[in-house]
């Protein structure tokens, strides 16, 4: 299943050399005791909330109305108020108008006072087309924000929405910095961030960023007073640099295990970072209900987690996993059963042909699966699915594509290795756009919304009711109903969710568990999500 490519050879060589080099002796202690140095894989700078910096409340410089609680990865983490004072309350009974009390007595790093007008300015800017904010679509639930009192903000939504607190993680910038509308990437905030957070940017160099704990921070001043971020995009180079020049970084599981010694250890951040293959209705084979069900039964997700993710991940069947606590119904997961998959295909009239590939009414059970070849994980998972499908008589043909190939017309007919998990803190953001039939017609929503063009009235009912259900217990029940309906007639071939693996030097800092992570790459997550709350052992 897994071929040895030049890249893998390269990895093996690097692992061997890293292993040898590790024998050189224990790593030296960081030179300054209150400093922590990390290597990021992402471009340095770009601290602009409108282009996505801190969009899930993870920024060190900015703060948001709410952030997710760390250490809760067996349920949807609580939304902890930061700049907000208490939970948002609905105004009127229809859940389209909400009020948030903001905290008083907070100052930005430039000395100006934080107030509700800053919240209003940032939220209105992110949905203002003139700013062309890349994350605007995450706030399509919001119509407008208005100041409704000295310390209160009113949000008018585009429709009824129950779980508003888990959508208000946008990093808040001062209103003055957003006064002139124009493309977001040209805002001064990108290089000169001004936030209310525990750290302020004190140096932005082409090779390093230095964040320093603020003396006039409204909360408790962090004990890690200097946070240095350097950058190397190649992970093998990051692994090599780690021992001589840094205290932590993010690596793939195999490399992380190789360098986690001599005072370094791995930290695993549970994430909702899932991958799966769309099975579009517009393709006569992929969209056939029997094929959809049989593929879900016939792929060995456990083997993919074990062999491809090195154990650092979870099998995903319905996009609802144990991360979602009471909303998760384990009985609705697909367990690997190739025999049952074959029976499903037999009884639907897909008969095995001469070459082992099934045929029905003269049509072969074969279709293309498009994937991005530069993403190693997507490639490996695609190949594993191809090999598993072949064993039940379905031929998937992998086709490497570029992003520009993925037009809505192409997606409507071609299966695609899809990644998700952008906003994992409500099940609504995970499920509703992916499976509601509202997005099954051409032109409705983004091209990635319901990319399989799946129509299931029972699924629609559960998702629509859950969206406006305020009682979390009743909402969880509705999501369990969704899983039952989905299990009977799946829309796509969800495969696995990948955890994020970090390597951290043990130099006397004590930190809590990680927070449930979205699909993300940088060092804002992992143990550093709670950087401002680290303590000395």
């Amino acid at each position: 299943m897994v071929q040895t490519s030049p890249r893998q050879w390269c990895l093996l060589v690097v692992l061997a050399v890293v292993g040898l080099a590790g024998c050189g002796g224990p790593a030296p202690a960081s030179s300054a005791p209150d400093r922590f140095v990390v290597i990021d894989g992402e471009e340095l700078g770009n601290f602009n909330p409108l282009t996505g910096h801190g969009s899930n409340g993870e920024s060190k410089i900015y703060e948001s109305l709410y952030r997710v609680a760390e250490g809760q990865d067996d349920r949807i983490p609580d939304a902890v108020p930061v700049l907000a004072d208490g939970a948002p309350t609905p105004v009127g009974g229809d859940l389209t108008h909400w009020r948030v009390q903001t905290r008083a007595g907070i100052t930005f790093s430039d000395g100006s006072t934080f107030g509700p007008e800053d919240v209003v300015a940032t939220y209105n800017a992110v949905i203002n087309p003139a700013f062309a904010a890349p994350i605007a679509a995450n706030f399509d639930f919001l119509r407008t924000a208005k100041v409704s009192g000295p310390n209160s903000v009113d949000l008018w939504l585009t429709g009824a929405y129950a779980d508003v607190p888990h959508r208000l993680f946008l990093a808040i910038a001062p209103a003055e910095t957003l006064a002139k509308p124009g493309p977001a990437d040209k805002l001064a905030l990108g290089n000169k961030p001004v936030g209310t957070g525990p750290y302020a940017l004190t140096e932005l160099r082409a090779d390093q960023v230095v964040l320093t704990a603020r003396d006039n921070y409204w909360g408790t001043k962090p004990q890690v007073t200097t946070f240095v971020v350097r950058r190397t995009d190649d992970e093998k180079a990051r692994a090599a640099q780690l021992a001589s020049s840094a205290d932590g970084t993010r690596l793939s599981p195999a490399l992380a295990k190789a360098v986690a010694k001599n005072g370094y250890r791995t930290v695993v951040g549970k994430a909702n970072d899932w991958l799966g293959i769309t099975l579009p209705t517009g393709n006569p084979v992929a969209g056939d209900p029997a094929i959809r069900l049989a593929l879900n039964l016939g792929v060995d997700r456990g083997a993919m987690v074990r062999d491809i993710l090195e154990g650092e991940g979870t099998a995903v069947s319905t996009l609802v996993t144990s991360l979602y606590g009471a909303a998760y119904d384990p009985a609705q997961d697909f367990t690997f059963d190739a025999d049952r998959a074959r029976k499903v295909l037999d009884s639907a009239g897909w008969q095995a042909g001469a070459d082992g590939i099934r045929v029905r009414d003269g049509k072969r059970a074969t279709f293309d699966v498009a994937y991005y070849p530069t993403d190693i994980l997507r490639r490996d998972l695609t190949m594993a699915a191809v090999s598993d499908a072949k064993k039940i008589g379905v031929e998937l043909k992998p086709v490497a594509v570029e992003k520009s190939t993925m037009t809505p017309e192409y997606l409507a007919k071609t299966a695609f290795m899809l990644g998700g998990g952008g906003q994992p803190y409500t099940l609504d953001t995970q499920l509703y756009p992916k499976f509601h039939s509202k997005y099954a017609t051409a032109g409705a929503g983004s091209k990635w919304d319901n990319a399989s063009d799946y129509v299931n009235p029972a699924v629609d009912r559960a998702l629509a009711a859950a969206r406006v259900e305020r009682d979390p217990a009743k909402r969880a029940k509705l999501y369990r109903d969704f899983q039952v309906a989905y299990h009977a007639a799946p829309a796509m071939l969800a495969l696995v969710s990948e955890n994020h693996v970090y390597v951290v030097r043990d130099n006397g800092w004590k930190f809590g568990s990680t927070a449930l992570e979205p699909h993300a790459h940088g060092v804002a997550w992992g143990p550093w999500y709670s950087l401002a709350r680290w303590t000395r052992q």
Binding site: V37, Q208, V228
Partner: protein
């Protein structure tokens, strides 16, 4: 000194001084450079536009999956990404002529600022790497060439061939692990120690490994080329004549062999070294050296036309200048070479 033209009614052969001819060569080459830059920059825009990369995807940076097609269209309009590549090129050219290099979408800052932050570091690394490459390859090439077939030659040639075959990425990682992690002689990454300010001393320490690796990467072709030039010069008539006159090897080598081998060596150096200045992508990546190599890859993937164009023009200029310098140097050291371009 200007060209000396003899008076006369006929098209008499113009006798010019050697220096004037070299000056004319330089002038002509630089004139050729102008249309070359225009054509290459035009081709850059055309090729980039034909590539599968989408500047909107680069702008969205993976967070724009929720946009409808209509919203994506509106974003293209707002950001000015609908422009035809020729229009974009013309706009870039006219602005560049007035000194405005444009705005880099991939770095979120003006191109002039990207250059001011990175060009110096790239130049420092490139020049240091070139010095390492020239000194090392000259030493090794001469040692191998003058005793062709001897033990030193065999060792040096074998080393050069092996070094040539190993990908620079592996050489760079190996250097990090050996010198930075195991021996702890020099730091592995960045311009200074983490969190510290940049000083001359810290820059020198941090420059050591990347300059060494970058220089080493050019040693094999240069050293082997010099060795080849020396052995063929040593087999020439002039050397046979000198030996016949009973001159000792020491004099023959210094007066005949090395000067004759110098011209082809300079040509090699001039042709290869310009790539050190803008093509150090791998070395810059491994050593987290904030130069332009990084910018090349980023700007190409993001279809960041203004930055891409400047980097390409810079490369073309360096190649033209590098070749010119090599030819001038060759004409200066070897009187047999005609400096007529």
């Amino acid at each position: 000194m200007g060209p000396v033209v003899l008076p006369g009614p006929l098209d008499a052969p113009v006798i010019r001084s050697r220096r004037a001819r070299i000056g004319q060569l330089a002038g002509r080459r630089l004139l050729y450079g102008v249309p070359l830059v225009l054509v290459v920059s035009l081709a850059t825009f055309a090729l980039a536009a034909a590539s599968p990369f989408d500047p909107l995807e680069a702008y969205l940076g993976g967070s724009g999956d929720g946009f409808t097609e209509a919203e994506r269209g509106a974003l293209r309009e707002t950001l000015g990404l609908n422009q035809h590549w020729f229009t974009a090129w013309w706009q870039w050219l006219t602005h560049a002529l007035t000194g405005d290099l444009g705005y880099s979408r991939s770095f979120h800052e003006p191109v002039a600022q990207v250059l001011s932050e990175r060009l110096g570091w790239t130049a420092l690394l490139g020049v240091s790497g070139s010095i390492v490459a020239v000194l090392l390859s000259a030493a090794l090439g001469i040692a191998a060439g003058l005793r062709a077939g001897g033990l030193a030659d065999r060792l040096i040639s074998a080393f050069a061939v092996v070094l040539y075959a190993v990908p620079p990425f592996i050489v760079a990682l190996g250097a990090v692990l050996l010198f930075a992690v195991t021996l702890r002689w020099a730091p592995a990454a960045g311009l200074s120690d983490p969190g510290e300010a940049i000083t001359a001393a810290s820059t020198a320490r941090h420059l050591f490994l990347p300059a060494l690796v970058l220089g080493l990467s050019q040693v094999p072709p240069l050293a082997l080329g010099l060795r080849e030039a020396i052995t063929s010069a040593a087999a020439g008539d002039a050397v046979r004549g000198a030996r016949a006159r009973g001159l000792p090897w020491r004099i023959v080598n210094r007066r005949h062999v090395l000067p004759m081998a110098a011209a082809p060596f300079f040509a090699l150096v001039g042709g290869r070294l310009p790539e050190l200045l803008v093509g150090a992508t791998v070395v810059e990546t491994v050593f987290a050296w904030p130069g332009l190599g990084d910018a090349v890859v980023n700007s190409a993937r993001a279809l960041d036309f203004p930055l891409l164009a400047v980097v390409i023009v810079l490369t073309v200029t360096l190649v033209v200048l590098g070749n010119l310098a090599a030819d001038v140097a060759a004409a200066v050291v070897d009187p047999r070479i005609e400096a007529d371009g």
